[in-house]
């Protein structure tokens, strides 16, 4: 008996020894405001504040609300005047999913509203172009402050321009929106402490649109940074020994890594921010907690300082299924990201049964949620490459797809058959004729077209043959990222085979798919078109020169042709060249002209079948919103998209829990 006990003791001991540094220090305190209270001058309007903040003011730990707000606060429209308090519980999939947090805080100078088309001022009071659209003046709100109470001035923008953007260590290459056509950097000058002027060498009508995405999205450096705080981590300002020590202490190798981490609003809770909520711990913690920013610049119509909700709690889920289950159980107060459309019936059922939440369906500004793209510059098999480059072939393939079936079985009937253009009502909408072009299910016509382009011979199994006698066999690469792509891929495969085109569907891991896309190894792929609302800015998929990381496989060698000024690659067809010209022209004309160009571009896009859209306007990607029944002011109809930072464009600072 004794021996058995010894055995157990030894096992236990070994386990204890094998546990190295089990408890690393994790206690992190929320940054406390250092600002001392000052006497308030008589305000123009009587502002009110959250009870938690009022208590701090009373205790002398925080200046009065009039002193914290800018002279001209942002007045945020809302259906109802809200009540203070509560925490907004959300879920995310870990630090790589940081864009989910960017969508919530939407920390920008100007932002999009719920309709996804109107731009409203946020930190900026105004953004004014010159008559020729070559200079743009950004005017800031007077007296606005960072979340630590320090003033936000144009110095914070100039610091970004001089010390971040143009620091080769931090930004090796100037992003294209800050470049003139000749490759020089756009000039940014300080006018005074409240105004900054951007001067472009060419006409630039997209500037305001660009401003709406210059937050921490995709880990880019925001164009305004808390310069006073961040200078201690910047090699141009900090003492070398002190900086080296900080780099070593944080186990980094270079100061740029330290800077990237310290300036991140999600990795460093001490970094001041401007959003309605700022971080109180790190994004790598189990629950990432954002707390109300006592200096947030927004008020409601009645003069109550926003936000209404005290906190945003973003819980880490190792797996999207677990997140979905939490949403079904009503444990998340507003969640659309990572909610699977296929759970819509279960959510609907529990909406009735539990009564804890309501379900909203939000749709995108257009495009399609699954489409087929053929590689028109495929080089490994010249016969196939030539076939893909044939417009009639692509039209035939579009006509061969039974879109109604895809909509019913893969999207639960929530979408509609369409091509990759904006939705009806959007100024860029080219008309029903183009949105629905080649979307009717017409295998007879598809067969006729295929016969007419020389694929009229068939083998014993009924599959079409090239004139050379080889079977037409297409590899369709499918990545399961945007929804039930495996199912859609299978349906499309069956449809194509019905008109005699043999398809070999390959489900691929995304990294491999990306690599093949870069290497011009894809024959055809299934992807989405989610940039229809913003064809000229950001990560547009309507420009053949964009990098293939984010772009599609319609013509990888066209890109090479443009990159090398025509020395290498394949010369694009006339219409593709025209698209590129339209892209360039759109950046130099006023908004009215831009609408015309956009419509022309979309018409060309559909006519040429650069992409074959199947079904769009579904709630697939972040469109099923589970909203706590007590949470008010959440728009039932919100246009969702990444450039809109949904749900950020739904103005979450006015959302509140009704008691």
């Amino acid at each position: 008996m004794m021996k058995r006990l010894t055995v157990f003791l030894i096992v236990c001991l070994c386990v204890l020894i094998a546990v190295p540094s089990a408890f690393a220090g994790e206690a992190k305190k929320a940054p406390e405001s250092k600002a001392a209270p000052t006497k308030a001058a008589a305000p123009a309007m009587k502002y009110k504040e959250a009870p938690v903040l009022a208590a701090l003011v009373k205790a002398g730990k925080l200046p009065a609300v009039e002193k914290r707000l800018p002279e001209n606060p942002l007045v945020v429209p809302a259906d109802e005047i809200g009540q203070y308090g509560g925490a907004w519980r959300r879920g995310f999939l870990g630090p790589s999913d940081f864009n989910g947090v960017n969508r919530v805080i939407y920390d920008v100078l100007a932002r999009f509203g719920p309709d996804g088309a109107t731009i409203e001022m946020k930190l900026a009071e105004s953004v004014t172009p010159s008559a020729d659209f070559k200079t743009w003046t950004v005017k800031l709100r007077k007296g606005m402050k960072w979340s630590d109470g320090s003033p936000f001035t144009t110095d914070d923008i100039m610091y970004w321009y001089k010390d971040v953007l143009q620091n080769k260590d931090l930004v090796p290459k100037i992003p294209s929106w800050m470049q003139n056509k000749d490759g020089s950097t756009v000039l940014v000058e300080k006018v005074d402490s409240l105004a900054v002027k951007w001067t472009f060498k060419e006409t630039n009508t997209n500037f305001l649109l660009e401003l709406t995405t210059k937050d921490y999205g995709d880990r880019l450096y925001p164009i305004f940074q808390p310069s006073k705080y961040l200078k201690q981590f910047h090699a141009s300002y900090a003492k070398k020994e002190a900086l080296d020590k900080m780099v070593a202490d944080a186990k980094f190798k270079t100061w740029t890594e330290l800077y990237a981490s310290k300036q991140s609003p999600f990795e460093n809770p001490e970094r001041p921010g401007m959003a309605a909520w700022t971080a109180s711990n790190r994004i790598s913690d189990q629950i990432f907690i954002l707390k109300r920013n006592p200096y947030y610049i927004g008020v409601d119509k009645a003069g109550n300082q926003l936000p209404y909700m005290d906190e945003v709690q973003i819980k880490f889920f190792a797996d999207a299924q677990a997140l979905n289950l939490a949403a079904i159980a009503g444990e998340l107060d507003e969640q659309e990201r990572h909610i699977n459309l296929l759970n819509y019936p279960v959510l609907k059922e529990n909406e009735q049964k539990l009564g804890k939440y309501k379900i909203f369906l939000w749709s995108s500004p257009g495009g399609f949620d699954a489409g087929v793209i053929f590689n028109q510059t495929y080089a490994k098999d010249p016969e196939l490459g030539k076939l893909f480059a044939n417009k009639d072939f692509r039209i035939a393939m579009s006509l061969a797809i039974n879109r109604k079936q895809i909509n019913e079985s893969a999207f639960l009937g929530t979408g509609e058959p369409r091509q990759g253009v904006p939705k009806k009502g959007h100024p860029f909408y080219p008309g029903d004729e183009y949105a629905l072009k080649y979307t009717e299910y017409n295998p007879t016509e598809a067969n006729r077209l295929l016969d007419s382009i020389g694929l009229n011979k068939k083998d014993a199994e009924g599959f079409r043959l090239f004139p050379s006698g080889k079977r037409v066999m297409i590899e369709l690469s499918v990545v399961e990222v945007f929804g039930p792509y495996r199912d859609i891929g299978t349906l499309v495969t069956k449809d194509f085979e019905k008109v005699g085109v043999k398809v070999n569907m390959q489900i691929r891991e995304r990294a491999l798919h990306f690599q093949m896309r870069q290497a011009n190894d894809l024959q055809a792929e299934m992807w989405n078109q989610d940039t229809a609302g913003f064809p000229f800015t950001g990560s547009t998929k309507y420009d053949f020169r964009r990098d293939l990381y984010g772009n599609l496989t319609y013509g990888p060698l066209w890109k090479q042709w443009y990159d090398t000024n025509g020395k290498e690659g394949v010369e694009p067809p006339a219409d593709a060249k025209k698209i590129v010209e339209l892209q360039d022209r759109a950046k130099t004309v006023g908004p009215a002209e831009q609408v015309k160009i956009a419509q022309e571009l979309f018409k060309l896009w559909v006519d040429n079948m650069f992409e074959i859209g199947t079904v769009g306007l579904t709630a697939t990607d972040q469109g099923v919103a589970v909203v706590n029944a007590k949470l008010h002011n959440v728009p039932a109809n919100l246009t969702k998209d990444w450039p809109l930072r949904t749900p950020g464009n739904g103005r979450p600072e006015v959302w509140f829990f009704k008691q």
Binding site: S21, A22, D97, A329
Partner: protein
């Protein structure tokens, strides 16, 4: 025996060095790197980076260096007793692993204890009452236990709990304790949640252990010394527990060391499905995201523990069974 232990311990650093190469090569084996999966993740949520940005990040993460430089960088930090920096979390790996260590070990120990408490007595009972109704019942339960993937069991239990009681049984803590520092209240809260994942994790092991125990014991029960003892009038229960059970334990003891790496790694899929904050999901995720230093570090510790675990098994076996001690030197 001592010499045997010392030789094995001396071999450890050399083996570990070898493992660093193997682990690093394995983590690097899938196509692409951390950035490709990172960019892909961004793409799947609507955004996409352009080439310049990807280049900048590549530089920032040191992924523009050749593979052997990346390996040497990692080795350098390992030599300094550190595990390097996680690319995804931008935090030291030792910190990330350390945070999850206690919960991981606790959960595994719980599962281990449940397994033993249930399996050993049941195994003994089944062997002593061979071919009775209860024995058959145990057998059926065993086959079900072994055949059900435990993540499946977890999903089913989660769904049953939710649809019948409206309970969410993911995670190991109530919301108010998730972030709190350790305290008695937090520990009690943990105990309230840990039993279910522990049972889920223990089911397959219990079934297997019970079958082994039963089979081993059956081998012993008919041996002459047992018959002899019985003939001498020794009470059946004392007899069985004192002699055959001890012998039947041997094969089980020899595998006990294998539990060590299992204790550490957590349960990959169950923990991910049930959203448990242990090392399992961290490893799975780092492999998917190709966060190579983090994945490499966890796998390396796993390798180290496997070696140590095997060694412990050998030592335990020697302690437990005098016959083995006498045979070797």
């Amino acid at each position: 025996m001592l010499r045997f232990i010392v030789t094995r311990l001396l071999l450890l650093p050399l083996l570990m060095l070898l493992f660093t190469v193997v682990v690093f090569a394995m983590v690097q084996a899938p196509p692409g790197d951390f950035l490709t999966s990172y960019v892909a993740m961004l793409a799947s949520s609507g955004s996409s980076m352009d080439a310049t940005q990807v280049e900048a990040l590549k530089q920032q993460f040191g992924l523009d260096q050749p593979i052997y430089i990346q390996y040497l960088r990692w080795l350098e930090s390992l030599v300094h007793g550190e595990l390097g920096l996680s690319l995804e979390y931008q935090r030291p790996n030792s910190e990330l692993i350390g945070e999850r260590m206690l919960v991981t070990v606790l959960l595994a120990l719980f599962a281990f204890v449940i397994t033993w408490i249930v399996a050993i007595p049941a195994g003994i009972y089944a062997a002593m009452h061979k071919n009775t109704v209860l024995d058959y019942l145990f057998a059926v339960l065993n086959y079900i236990g072994v055949a059900t993937p435990n993540f499946m069991l977890a999903l089913i239990l989660m769904w049953i709990c939710f649809s019948n009681f409206g309970l969410m049984i993911t995670g190991l803590f109530s919301p108010q304790y998730t972030q709190a520092p350790w305290s008695v209240a937090r520990f009690i809260d943990l105990l309230k949640h840990i039993w279910l994942p522990a049972i889920v994790l223990g089911v397959a092991g219990t079934a297997r252990l019970m079958r082994i125990m039963r089979a081993n014991l059956l081998d012993e029960l008919n041996k002459p010394y047992v018959v002899m003892a019985r003939a001498k009038g020794m009470s059946e229960w004392t007899l069985v527990v004192k002699y055959p059970v001890r012998l039947a334990f041997n094969p089980i003891i020899s595998t006990i060391g294998w539990y060590l790496p299992q204790l550490f790694s957590g349960s990959l899929i169950v923990a991910t499905v049930m959203n448990l904050p242990n090392i399992g999901p961290l490893l799975l995720r780092s492999l998917i995201q190709q966060d190579m230093y983090l994945a490499g570090s966890i796998l390396l510790i796993y390798c180290g523990l496997t070696i140590v675990g095997t060694l412990i098994s050998d030592i335990l076996l020697a302690l437990f069974d005098p016959r083995i001690r006498m045979e070797g030197t």
